[in-house]
């Protein structure tokens, strides 16, 4: 019975190939707020299911989770569509929740830490989809010239999404790294490699979207109000991250 529960949880704390369900759903959802909702709620269901299981999680699930996380982190490098990239990074991050199993209350927080920066990035990506019709590097980069306010925020958003220190997912990742399951050198190294792959994919995305000469003219930048709101949001994220670090570590 517990195994079935774990497999169902594997849909929400995605383990390959069960992860395909989430990624299919995420790719079909175009509305930014629905994506935000999905990013925040989806792993919480998985954590809830895990807390309901009577028996402890079998050890091999941790290995499966690490491989799933590494697989999606690796695949994210080749992605050019920002929405899909967020989905893959989310899948990769949430899979790590199998490794960093902590007490139930904190496990929800750990999941939230992974989700929050990605939700913010998804919200900001909505701007690009609204203006260009899609958030894809094939539509030409040069946002730093065409829409500098957006470009600045987008750089911060991507840095936040790849668990740059002080953002909540950094502390979630650190908590996972310090959890008993990660104490083996293999897991520790695996986690560091996954972090490196996230960063690599993020930089590739930034190169495709922010750098270069704009191909499409007449793109309207974010309004000043929206810029301030997003900036305040990122400051909030940082504060949440610092606070979360205190709770988790």
């Amino acid at each position: 019975m517990s195994l079935t529960l774990y497999l169902i949880a594997g849909l929400f704390l995605p383990l390959f190939p069960l992860s395909m369900l989430f990624n299919q759903m995420f790719a079909r959802l175009r509305h930014p707020w629905l994506r935000v909702l999905l990013l925040l709620a989806w792993p919480q269901i998985g954590v809830l299911l895990l807390s309901q299981a009577a028996a402890p999680v079998p050890d091999w699930f941790a290995g499966w989770a690490l491989l799933s996380a590494a697989f999606y982190a690796y695949r994210a490098i080749a992605l050019r569509e920002v929405g899909l990239w967020i989905g893959y990074i989310a899948t990769s991050a949430w899979a790590l929740l199998w490794i960093g199993v902590v007490e139930p209350g904190l496990h929800h927080l750990l999941a939230l830490g992974f989700s929050l920066p990605l939700a913010f990035t998804a919200l900001l990506t909505g701007f690009l989809e609204q203006r260009l019709g899609a958030a894809h590097t094939a539509l030409g980069g040069g946002m730093a010239i065409a829409a500098p306010r957006f470009a600045g925020l987008f750089v911060v958003a991507v840095l936040a999404a790849v668990a740059t220190p002080l953002f909540p997912n950094f502390f979630s990742l650190l908590a996972t790294l310090l959890s008993p399951a990660s104490l083996s050198p293999l897991f520790g190294l695996g986690l560091m490699l996954i972090w490196l792959l996230w960063t690599w994919s993020g930089i590739r995305l930034l190169q495709g979207i922010v750098v270069g000469s704009p191909v499409r003219n007449g793109l309207q930048d974010l309004s000043m109000t929206a810029t301030w709101v997003y900036s305040a949001g990122f400051v909030g994220l940082l504060l949440i991250g610092i606070n979360m670090g205190g709770v988790l570590l």
Binding site: E81, G133, A138, L139, V215
Partner: protein, 818 residues
């Protein structure tokens, strides 16, 4: 002539023609403004601009929104714009109910982005259907028939193969290639800046590069060499070009266009190489020859190598293979070109990405048709909407609604033609306003007669940076300013004090025939400590290993320098100036030397060399070398006479050693008759004859209209700039002086104009310069707007009392510029 030789000559001729559109580019020390369309001057301006834009990847005109801003600011003549639009409308068949000129004006004034898509625009009947609210009828089969010709013209005609591959596969072979070629150019065209130089440069660009090229290139070149009929003769760049072009399967009739595209890829380097290989008497070019043929051989070899590496057996690696790809898989090729151009339809970008990743033929076929349908439908709807909006803005909705399909097609065609040529319309309207402003500012009334002559007359360079200080100078007192070319009409080759090379101070298109030496009568002093320290620092930087430790050891010192220059630049720079060795007051050797003077100079030089040689070779003390010894040694070395038998004893040498020393003077120290003759020829270049001096002064004064009413002071103000760590520093100096300061030319003209003999001759040409008029050279530092007077030691004492007033005026003008 052998067939191989014929082919070599053909390739050389093709490259010569292919390189014609690239303008010359001078070295960075003469980095002056140049006309990028110089090589296209034979074409009408609009055509030259169009071709230049394509060749140099340039944007020839400003965006429409920028012109609209100029229009609202009044910097553009609206009447001229309207007049052109009316002419444009009159040249077209009238459309009932449509005022085309008004449409065109509304389009240019009220629409920021171009209306008609350049790439596969929608058919007028589709736009008509969209306007009528009917479903847009799009035949993707008809459209797909347009795809192959479009791909062929876009990817095959004269485009380097790697550019096509980059456009189809999102690779960056072109960028990689540029980097490799730039590296080769930097290595070969080094002019003494590097410590480790490319070996064997005297063998030419291609041959020297070939010896240091990496393994894959060597393998390719060996392959080319072994394929030649006589490989033992070595490989020429022409053979390489011929082989690579055939290997790439580029049809020979396209070679010239292909070469042009390759050459313009790095048009700065190409322009420099063209200039270098065409310039006569350029030291570095004579010593290390290199031309566009070498450049192309290197570029094509590297391109071929990169194409083969990237193709990896899966992508086309020849023009023929690319053509076959277009013919056999046009749908995939079209989708690829759309996807990697950045112009792909956003709503289909993900689908196109996926289908290109999988490459499944059926998915590609379906995506292609859906893509074309979506694209055309989207464009038809957009254009219909934009036209309706435009009709509303121009107040012609009724007429627009009454248009039938044929009328709409004509309207769309007219607007397409208008947008294709709108850059020139805006430009002419801007020129019209500029002309009006200029003509309004010109007064044809004769200047009011002055009661007395101006306090100072000052001739500045016609550079825009001189304009401001001229205006301020005229406002602070009784100053009259003139504009003249910054080299004051005196082309000169200067041998600066302490330098061993000539510097051409004239427009880069001229080669001065006169040489002027800068001499100093001051006693040579030791270098200031800071100057020595700086020299030592540069030596350390040039070394291969020392920079690693230098940064840690003394890097902090640079921090103090930076803080000083940032926090208190004036005080700090003044303080630093004191630490450096000051350049002594110098004189310019202006007059031609007589035969006797030239002989005397050669003799003096020979004597000095002999003394130096005796010190160096024989270890003699200077005081032990007498004039008689030097004279005898000189005569002996020149072969004029045998030396006195007692000379060897006087010099503490035996006969054999003395004979050896004399021989060494002849060979190593070049104390011989042919060299002395050559020195005399060189000396004949020094200075200007009396006629030349009179001619230059007369020409300069007549050209600015200053032929009477001379002031007490006539300033000749050259200009220059000061900046640090700026490789483009010469771009900020005087272009008319070949990217150098204009002071030397000013000093020369002043010196000429102050000579009584020149003034006497000028009076014969009705230019009477009064005795109390004095020409003073000056330098305008365009960075600080400071004007410094020079050669004041030559100023007559009668003028000294006015000097303070002059200085105050110059300082006030400089301050007003701040």
């Amino acid at each position: 002539m052998s067939p191989a030789m014929g082919q070599h000559l053909r390739i050389r001729a093709m490259i010569y023609v292919a390189g014609e559109p690239v303008p010359f580019f001078w070295p960075m020390r003469s980095f002056i403004h140049h006309n990028p369309l110089h090589g296209l001057e034979h074409l009408p301006f609009a055509e030259a601009v169009d071709k230049g834009a394509k060749l140099f990847h340039a944007r020839p005109f400003l965006p429409r929104s920028q012109y609209q801003a100029y229009l609202s600011d009044g910097r553009l003549d609206k009447a001229a714009l309207i007049s052109q639009l009316q002419s444009f409308a009159c040249s077209r068949e009238p459309l009932p109910g449509i005022d085309l000129a008004s449409w065109a004006l509304t389009l240019l004034q009220a629409t920021e982005e171009p209306l008609i898509p350049l790439h596969m625009p929608p058919q007028p009947e589709q736009v008509y259907a969209a306007l009528q609210g009917q479903p847009v009828n799009i035949s993707t089969d008809a459209l797909s028939s347009q795809v192959i010709p479009q791909l062929r013209s876009g990817l095959l005609k004269g485009l380097p193969l790697y550019e096509s591959l980059d456009a189809l596969y999102g690779t960056s072979i072109g960028e990689e290639l540029d980097e490799l070629v730039i590296r080769a150019c930097l290595d070969f065209f080094d002019e003494g800046q590097s410590v480790w130089v490319m070996p064997d440069r005297q063998e030419g660009f291609f041959n020297a590069w070939r010896k240091v090229a990496g393994g894959p290139v060597q393998a390719l070149l060996k392959q080319i060499e072994s394929s030649q009929s006589s490989p033992e003769r070595g490989l020429t760049p022409e053979q390489v070009i011929d082989h690579v072009m055939r290997a790439l399967e580029v049809p020979e009739e396209q070679w010239v266009d292909y070469f042009t595209r390759e050459i313009v890829h790095l048009h700065g380097w190409s322009g420099y190489i063209r200039w270098r290989s065409n310039s006569s008497r350029y030291y570095w070019a004579d010593r290390y020859p290199g031309d566009l043929v070498d450049l192309l051989a290197i570029r094509l070899t590297l391109a071929w190598m990169l194409i083969r590496q990237h193709a990896n057996g899966q992508r086309p690696n020849t023009a023929r293979a690319l053509e076959q790809l277009i013919e056999s898989r046009p749908e995939e090729t079209y989708l690829r070109s759309e996807f990697y151009s950045g112009q792909v339809l956003p709503c289909m970008v993900q689908r196109v990405d996926r289908c290109l990743s999988t490459g499944h033929p059926q998915a590609v076929h379906k995506t292609f048709h859906d893509y074309l349908f979506a694209r055309q439908s989207d464009q038809a709807q957009r254009l219909a909407h934009a036209l309706s909006e435009l009709a509303g803005k121009s107040g012609q909705q009724d007429g627009f609604k009454r248009l039938d399909a044929a009328g709409l097609a004509r309207l769309i065609q007219a607007l397409t033609d208008l947008e294709a040529g709108e850059g020139m319309l805006w430009l002419r309207a801007m020129e019209s306003r500029a002309l009006d402003q200029l003509l309004d500012g010109i007064s044809l009334d004769a200047a009011e007669p002055r009661e007395k002559r101006p306090f100072v007359q000052a001739a500045f360079c016609i550079d825009t940076r001189s304009e401001r200080i001229r205006r301020h100078l005229e406002s602070v007192g009784d100053y009259q300013t003139y504009g003249i070319a910054g080299f004051f009409g005196v082309p000169v080759s200067l041998m600066e004090l302490g330098k061993g090379s000539e510097m051409h101070l004239c427009p880069v298109l001229l080669t001065p025939k006169n040489l002027v030496l800068e001499m100093s009568s001051s006693v040579r002093t030791d270098e200031a400590a800071v100057t020595t320290l700086e020299r030592a620092m540069h030596k350390l930087k040039e070394s291969v290993l020392s920079p690693f430790v230098t940064v840690e050891a003394i890097g902090l010192l640079f921090g103090f320098d930076m803080i000083g220059k940032t926090v208190a630049p004036d005080i700090y720079n003044r303080w630093r100036k004191h630490l450096h060795t000051h350049k002594p007051n110098t004189h310019l050797l202006l007059d031609k030397l007589s035969r006797e003077q030239a002989d005397s100079i050669v003799r003096a030089v020979q004597r000095a060399v002999i003394v130096e040689a005796a010190e160096q070779e024989l270890g003699m003390a200077p005081e032990a070398i007498t004039d008689d010894m030097v004279k005898e040694l000189r005569e002996a070395a020149l072969g004029n006479a045998d030396w006195d038998p007692g000379l060897a004893a006087d010099m503490n040498l035996d006969d054999a050693k003395l004979t050896k020393f004399v021989l060494r003077l002849r060979t190593a120290y070049r104390i011989n008759t042919p060299f002395a003759r050559m020195q005399l020829e060189q000396l004949a270049r020094i200075g200007y004859s009396q006629e030349e001096q009179v001619g230059f002064v007369r020409q300069a004064l007549s050209s600015i209209g200053l032929t009477e009413g001379f002031s007490r002071f006539v300033l000749l103000v050259g200009h220059g700039s000061s900046s640090e760590n700026n490789p483009y520093e010469s771009a900020l100096d005087c272009g008319a002086c070949g990217g150098n300061h204009g002071l030397v030319n000013a000093r020369l003209l002043a010196q000429m104009a102050n000579k009584a003999s020149v003034r006497r001759r000028l009076a014969e040409h009705s230019i009477r310069i009064p005795d109390d008029a004095w020409f003073i050279p000056a330098l305008h530092n365009t960075t600080t707007d400071e004007i410094t007077l020079h050669d004041l030691e030559l100023l007559p004492t009668s003028h000294l009392v006015y000097l303070d007033r002059l200085r105050n005026g110059l300082t006030s003008a400089a301050r007003l510029c701040a």
